[in-house]
């Protein structure tokens, strides 16, 4: 088997793993959004739909697990999905292909740095 063919087979296995990760993230987050909005509308707890959230308020609402907490958890799940995909890619390629492992490592570091400098 040529090196390119071996490379292709590794990629195909990675594609299957990644597709499960991203789809699960989307379904879970949308379910959390739907549940959160339903609970909020049910107990009329929504005051202002335009209200934005800071990181602190997201953390506190999640810990209280009210309707806004569920929605905030949904936002975090959406955001976490691509990050989990990056980490899964790093783990997947760790022993198979150094270059393909290095690329998502750089991306992950960039994202973390970008977030940290704005905090």
């Amino acid at each position: 088997m040529s090196e390119a063919e071996a490379q292709r087979q590794i990629s195909q296995r990675a594609e299957r793993v990644l597709s499960h990760i991203v789809m699960s993230g989307a379904v879970i987050s949308v379910a959390l959004f739907a549940f959160g909005i339903s609970v909020a509308l049910g107990n009329s707890s929504i005051v202002d739909e335009k209200q934005t959230m800071s990181l602190d308020s997201i953390v506190s609402s999640i810990s209280s697990m009210d309707s806004m907490g569920l929605i905030a958890l949904g936002v975090l799940t959406v955001i976490a999905t691509p990050l989990v995909r990056i980490l899964a890619t790093i783990l997947y390629f760790a022993r198979k292909d150094r270059l393909l492992m290095a690329l998502p490592v750089v991306t992950f570091i960039l994202i973390v740095v970008g977030f940290v400098i704005r905090m």
Binding site: V22, A26, V47, E49, K50, G74, P82, T89, L103, T107
Partner: protein, 280 residues
């Protein structure tokens, strides 16, 4: 307008945007942002943050299909993500310092480009190999996809990584600045400059969009620009719309509907220009 009415309208509009976006082969950001801004009176930066979250949902919904079909060039996608993410972070950091009117003007320019791209851009259904561009093929990123018209697997080489990286940086910057996916920049760059077949370029762009959007979304989140209720309603709507749109029909290839939506985007762009100039 009562909260429940606002969320219901946003949900319905987002379903329509999800359907239209998947049928036209574009992300919904170019429609969602002006509607949220103009109709609901929400700051364009908050609208951009909302759009970014929905883009991640859309990408997470449609990417698995492309991945299962084996048309995503994962290696190339991960390479270009370094550039799109860098651009996205710089764009999202800059936007905090820009005035609302400047961001609106920039958005208006981008949606005019989106309208032209939609009208005259490359047809995503075509499975043509672009003429091989000059430059050395980088075998680590070479790909293979199944040509549906011939039923056979075809190999393609990937060239001009530096140009592709530059296009990725610009696409990422737009994502960070105004909350769009950036596919309208990445797809033609991959296809024309890098020699990636159209379907593989669209699939790879879609694969990358979630990671690009998350880089800017985190910066928006850190700056307190995410409105959870608006975001949740829009994300549910786009998820439903994109799922229905991608399963029910083929992509719109006829000139008629593309012309209608292009004209709509030009009108939206004019309104955004007037708003940016303080005339609305």
């Amino acid at each position: 307008m009562a909260v429940i009415e606002t969320l219901l309208i946003l949900l319905i509009v987002s379903i329509l945007i999800g359907v239209i976006g998947s049928l036209l082969g574009i992300g919904g950001g170019v429609f969602l942002i002006p509607i949220v801004t103009l109709a609901l009176g929400i700051d364009i930066k908050v609208a951009a943050a909302t759009s970014l979250v929905t883009i991640i949902v859309t990408s997470s919904t449609s990417a698995p299909k492309y991945l299962r079909e084996g048309i995503v060039n994962v290696g190339l996608g991960m390479f270009l993500e370094i550039f799109t993410v860098t651009g996205a972070i710089i764009g999202a950091v800059l936007v905090v310092y820009l005035s609302q009117s400047l961001v609106e003007a920039l958005f208006a320019i981008v949606i005019i480009y989106a309208a032209v791209y939609m009208m005259f851009g490359i047809d995503a259904k075509k499975e043509i190999h672009p003429p091989a561009p000059s430059g050395t093929s980088h075998w680590r990123f070479n790909g293979r996809y199944r040509n549906e018209s011939t039923g056979e697997a075809e190999d393609y080489g990937v060239r001009n990584l530096s140009r592709g990286g530059a296009a990725g940086f610009i696409a990422g910057s737009l994502s960070g600045l105004i909350g769009v996916g950036g596919g309208i920049v990445k797809v033609p760059a991959m296809h024309i400059w890098m020699g990636v077949p159209m379907k593989a370029a669209v699939a790879t762009s879609n694969f990358m969009i979630g990671v690009t959007a998350v880089a800017s979304a985190l910066v928006y989140l850190a700056n307190g620009l995410v409105a959870p209720l608006i975001t949740a309603a829009a994300a549910i709507g786009i998820f439903i719309g994109a799922t229905v749109g991608s399963r029910s029909m083929q992509k719109i290839t006829g000139r008629g509907l593309r012309t209608i939506f292009s004209v709509m985007l030009v009108i939206i762009s004019m309104i955004m220009f007037l708003r940016a100039g303080g005339m609305l």
